[in-house]
């Protein structure tokens, strides 16, 4: 690819930012931050989608990363070094992710990398990450099971998300569950987790349907749910086409409660859709903008600071917080290690690092589990009412138990690069 091509893309990306008037108040140069000129600098790679299919959910991650970096730099940087960052737009394109990841590692020599929205993207770049032993943070909520020395999967897993909302709905509404999920690895594995969790909570999955990602018409799905007459539906639908389900079920008069790990917290459907499309929907999440902690919605809290930097941003989503707190966890680990040397930073990250993340109530912090590189999140069950007001109905700390207890992943003693699935361990998931 010629330099000319790259710079024209930049120009377009710049145009996008300008047109959205989203650069107001942003001090960061879109191509790269400034170097301190001192001997050592710290350089972070941020690969988050600012255009393409994942732009809606990816750009809050990008913005929150820049917020964390600006806050840290204003506060003196990491060990006195100002953070430089490199944040080209991967454009929701896995091929570009692959090229940019290689470039991040080999040419930009980033000290740590945050990259990718979907599991497909993570799996596209993970071989490169592992070949180069690059410290990598994957922050999206996901199906779970990645046990990899180089990867810190700090978003909540399906077991944590579904494990918060499913037991709540069983106790509120009853044991008959109908699952609808996107037809690819995330949706299939999440549906397996629903079966495992249903079994653990004396509930039953009466039927399940997997919906192709390209589908946007849900007439027959709605009828099939009505025929099965479940106590509640578990929805792991993904993407803009599937969002249509919520409007269509409301219009068809289907008013069964719905639990979800994918709606609202990521794509803020409760803001985008007309009420009452999201009425009576419960999201099991570690974070969304409405999480009522003092650190989050209090005066000068995370939400205030985010919108001060990005006044025109539409929403502050789950993954944005994950990028934000993990950059701070990285800072803590570097300061503890006393070096930017990646293997030593990984060792420090494996020392039980904690951080007072916006998701955790006053006096609490969240902890990075040394053995699995996952986070014991403070999980929330968030409910939308018929006016789309969102409130918390339950919250508790839920550790990531699949890798620790079921698989027995221990990265502090064994160097692994594997993704485990529930089928390997649970009969119900078969």
């Amino acid at each position: 690819m010629s330099d000319d091509g790259v710079s024209r893309r930049r120009f377009l990306a710049g145009g996008a930012a300008l047109a959205g008037a989203t650069v107001a108040g942003c001090s960061g140069d879109s191509a790269a931050g400034t170097s301190t000129g001192a001997g050592g600098t710290v350089k972070l790679g941020v690969l988050e989608d600012q255009s393409g299919n994942f732009a809606l959910v990816g750009s809050p991650k990008h913005k929150a990363s820049l917020l964390a970096i600006e806050e840290i730099n204003n506060d003196g940087g990491i060990m006195g070094q100002e953070i430089e960052y490199f944040d080209p737009d991967p454009q929701s394109d896995n091929q570009r992710y692959k090229e940019l990841t290689r470039r991040m590692i080999q040419q930009e020599n980033v000290d740590a990398l945050w990259a990718g929205y979907s599991s497909a993207t993570r799996e596209t770049i993970r071989p490169t990450i592992d070949r180069e032993d690059q410290l990598y943070f994957y922050t999206t909520q996901y199906e779970g099971g990645v046990c990899d020395k180089n990867v810190f999967a700090v978003g909540p897993t399906a077991r944590q998300q579904l494990g918060s909302v499913l037991p709540y709905l069983v106790s509120e509404y009853g044991p008959k569950i109908y699952t609808i999920a996107a037809d690819y690895n995330f949706g299939q594995l999440s549906a397996d987790w629903v079966k495992v969790l249903a079994d653990e909570n004396d509930a039953e999955v009466v039927d399940e349907e997997f919906i192709p990602l390209s589908n946007s018409q849900f007439g027959s799905t709605i009828n099939r749910i009505q025929e099965a007459d479940p106590d509640f539906v578990m929805s792991m639908l993904v993407g803009a086409n599937h969002t249509s389900f919520y409007e269509q079920k409301a219009s068809a008069g289907l008013d069964v409660p719905i639990g979800t790990s994918t709606a609202m917290a990521q794509g803020y459907e409760h803001r985008r859709l007309n009420p009452p499309a999201m009425a009576n929907i419960y999201a099991g999440v570690n974070y969304m903008e409405e999480v009522p902690t003092d650190r989050n919605t209090g005066d000068g809290g995370f939400v205030d600071r985010y919108y001060e930097m990005w006044p025109d941003a539409p929403y502050l989503n789950e993954e944005a917080e994950n990028n934000y707190f993990s950059i701070y966890m990285y800072k803590k680990a570097v300061e503890q290690a006393g070096t930017f040397e990646q293997s030593e930073v990984v060792e420090a990250l494996e020392s039980g690092i904690t951080y007072e993340a916006p998701e955790a109530p006053e006096g609490e912090s969240i902890r990075l589990d040394p053995e699995t590189h996952h986070v014991d999140h403070h999980m929330w069950v968030m409910k939308a009412d018929d006016q789309h007001n969102v409130s918390a109905v339950e919250d508790e700390v839920i550790p990531e138990t699949f890798l620790t207890e079921t698989v027995g992943c221990d990265l502090t003693s064994e160097d692994e690069e594997t993704q485990y699935t529930p089928q390997d361990y649970f009969e119900e998931a078969g």
Partner: protein
């Protein structure tokens, strides 16, 4: 067990979706031999025009009219600037319209952001037993039939229709008889664009309005045009009927995924065994009968 009313309503729903998604593409392809790969983006323009007009305070019917108008104008502008240079160059026009589609998607993202606030589906639901169905979606089946009838009248009963068909059958003779063939192409392209815009406008309340939304119409649209065959209106109607039945029955019994697989298998079977498409079969039968009568 299959509930008869469910099946009927789903058939109407699928029929409307297939016909409305395909009709604009079918007219532009059937009349002009241009495979418009930006068809999905024309649909997106219709949805954006409608949603933005509605969000500005207009009632839904006005917003739908505005969405159609915006798409018609966009179609006219693009035909005059780009498409008209590519007649008789089908491969070039495919590449050009594909690029156009990419540019339009990204332009929508740059100008209007990653999504628009939705309209919400009007009209509520009809209930029967334990089931219910959105009334608006049933209404769309009526609109689809009205569109087919209107297009039939325009292309068979008006002077424009006669000239347009003459242009398609033999442009040189038509030109010799005083038909401005260039103008016919422009108007036909505008009508095709308007109908794509109408699909977007009508489905905007039922969908998530995002720059890439057009792609969810493409499978049905292209499959319908291909299986419909040479005769535009007859083909689209038959494709809507046959594919709609298959889709409704299978997705009712086995879910959306099987419904879509069934749709594609039937399309492959039609292409294999009826190479002239559904309308080709009907026309062959009609010709044979006319010959026998004579």
């Amino acid at each position: 067990m299959v509930n008869g009313i469910n099946l009927l309503l789903q058939f109407l729903d699928s029929f409307a979706f297939i016909v409305l998604a395909a009709i604009g593409l079918a007219i532009i392809f059937g009349m002009m031999d241009v495979i418009n790969l930006a068809h999905g983006e024309f649909i997106m323009i219709g949805a954006y025009g409608t949603t933005m007009t509605y969000n500005a305070g207009a009632p839904l019917p006005v917003a739908i009219a505005a969405g159609v108008a915006v798409t018609t104008v966009a179609g006219l502008v693009l035909e005059r600037t780009i498409i008209h240079r590519l007649y008789d160059r089908p491969l070039d026009s495919m590449v050009a319209t594909w690029a156009l589609g990419l540019a339009l998607t990204q332009a929508a993202r740059i100008l209007f952001g990653n999504s628009l606030n939705s309209i919400g589906i009007p009209l509520g639901a009809i209930s029967y037993g334990q089931f219910s169905y959105s009334l608006y979606r049933v209404l769309l089946a009526g609109v689809a039939i009205a569109v087919l009838v209107a297009a039939y009248l325009v292309f068979t009963r008006t002077e424009f229709g006669v000239r347009a068909r003459a242009t398609i059958q033999d442009p040189e003779t038509a030109a010799a008889m005083g038909v401005e063939t260039g103008r016919m192409y422009t108007i036909t392209f505008a009508i095709g664009s308007a109908l794509a815009g109408l699909a977007g406008a009508l489905y905007a309340p039922t969908m998530s309005v995002v720059p890439g939304m057009g792609s969810s119409f493409l499978v049905e649209a292209f499959v319908a045009v291909v299986t419909g065959g040479t005769s535009v209106l007859l083909g689209t109607t038959l494709a809507g009927g046959v594919l709609g039945s298959v889709d409704a029955l299978l997705s009712n019994l086995y879910g959306t995924f099987v419904g879509q697989i069934g749709l594609l298998i039937v399309a492959v079977a039609i292409l294999r065994f009826l190479p002239t498409g559904l309308s080709g079969v009907v026309e062959t039968v009609r010709e044979r009968r006319e010959r026998d009568a004579a």
